[in-house]
């Protein structure tokens, strides 16, 4: 049952991600990415990290996908009304796929060859309260830094997006 669910999730994620990167319709690509992100959230849920799953949905589906769609609409060209983009140059596509395949060829045997220590018998527990305490106590500094980065990134994004190019 559980394995079957995992298989479905993996198939969903890999399938939608792979198809999304091949499609010519940009909007559909983005929406497929959304499915893929939702699948990843499902994976977190399956693994028992429910807080992470919701955070993933909130951040990726709620925010990143919106911003992406916005960017897609704002960078729409008049000659691509349906947001159908030209396929990549054959050489480039081939190069990309080859490199991807090479990395996979390295990674997969490496993973298969590695012996990992045995997993703990019971699944690790994970409560929101525990997470909060961990964040605040052990990783307080990191949290602050991340907050800072986020703020700077937000401001930077606003500045970038709001800057009007002068006509020259």
């Amino acid at each position: 049952m559980s394995t079957f669910a995992l298989g479905t999730i993996i198939a969903l994620i890999l399938g939608s991600a792979a198809v999304a990167l091949c499609l010519r319709r940009l909007i559909r690509s983005v929406l497929l990415f959304v499915i893929s992100w939702a699948g990843i959230a499902a994976f977190y849920l399956w693994a028992g990290a429910e807080f992470l799953a919701f955070a993933q949905v909130l951040v990726y589906i709620g925010a990143v996908s919106m911003v992406t769609l916005f960017a897609v609409l704002l960078t729409r060209r008049h000659d691509q009304p349906d947001l159908v983009i030209e396929p990549p140059a054959r050489s480039r596509a081939a190069a990309g796929v080859t490199i991807g395949a090479c990395v996979a060829a390295v990674l997969i045997p490496a993973i298969l060859a590695t012996e990992f220590p045995a997993a703990s018998a019971t699944a690790p527990t994970f409560s929101v309260r525990q997470l909060g305490l961990d964040l605040m106590e052990q990783h307080g500094v990191v949290l602050l830094v991340v907050g800072l980065i986020l703020t700077v990134a937000l401001l930077g994004a606003v500045v970038l997006a709001a800057s009007k190019e002068d006509a020259s």
Binding site: R76, R77, H78, Q80, P81
Partner: protein
């Protein structure tokens, strides 16, 4: 960006009328035997008749009386019809309220074509029926029924809001009885595809000035002027 104009449904519109139910005679016969027959067909017609959503569409003076009919004094909401939808896709009823000029006629027909079946049309006021007081004008269409089938004609210039409500009740009766204009045999035969032809702007007049498939006036004879 270019967005294609055409948004025609790819499949022809389904026939607005479900398969006819039992005839009145049969029904009476069944009633005599104690069988109360409420077919799906009748239930659907009951629902449609009580939920006639008009298109939020006004042409001229009559539109104001149409708005007045939806206001507190007359309250078309009592009939379940206050939901004036701005998009033809969600509307059931086209109230042609006012003068249809030749410049406007193609748009009215397009709106009618965009409405999903089953749909109804009320010609409100003299202008919509026949061109009315403006019928002598060079830019006035002499009646919207030259291009689209009309269920109820409400004369008046403009008709009182009550007259509109009366026309709406008339329409509800027609819907319940399943005999609206779009279901009339002649109109149906003329419009097998579901789309009503939209005339072109010509150098002098609309081309064509009427749709002969649905517009067949009786011949006119005058005894004193042979």
């Amino acid at each position: 960006m270019i967005m294609p104009d055409a948004a025609r449904p790819e499949t022809p519109a389904p026939s607005p009328v479900p398969a006819p139910g039992p005839s009145d005679a049969e029904r009476d016969e069944l009633r005599r035997h104690g069988i109360l027959l409420t077919s799906i067909h009748e239930l659907a017609n009951w629902g449609r008749s009580h939920s006639v959503w008009p298109l939020q569409f006004g042409l001229a003076c009559c539109a104001i009386e149409m708005i007045a009919a939806s206001m507190a004094r007359f309250d078309i909401a009592r009939f379940g019809s206050e939901v004036f939808r701005p998009s033809p896709r969600q509307a059931d009823l086209l109230i042609v309220s006012g003068t249809v000029t030749k410049k406007m006629a193609p748009q009215v027909i397009r709106l009618w074509n965009q409405m999903p079946e089953p749909k109804y049309c009320i010609a409100m006021g003299a202008c919509a029926i026949s061109g009315g007081p403006f019928k002598q004008g060079y830019n006035v269409l002499k009646g919207i029924d030259r291009f689209i089938p009309v269920d109820v004609y409400i004369p008046g210039c403009p008709p009182r809001p009550e007259a509109l409500l009366h026309g709406l009740m008339e329409l509800q009766d027609q819907i319940r009885a399943g005999r609206t204009a779009a279901s009339r045999p002649t109109v149906k035969a003329a419009q097998a595809s579901g789309d009503y032809p939209v005339p072109d702007f010509g150098p002098e007049d609309l081309e064509p000035p009427a749709n002969p498939a649905i517009w067949q006036p009786p011949a006119l004879v005058r005894p004193d002027k042979p």
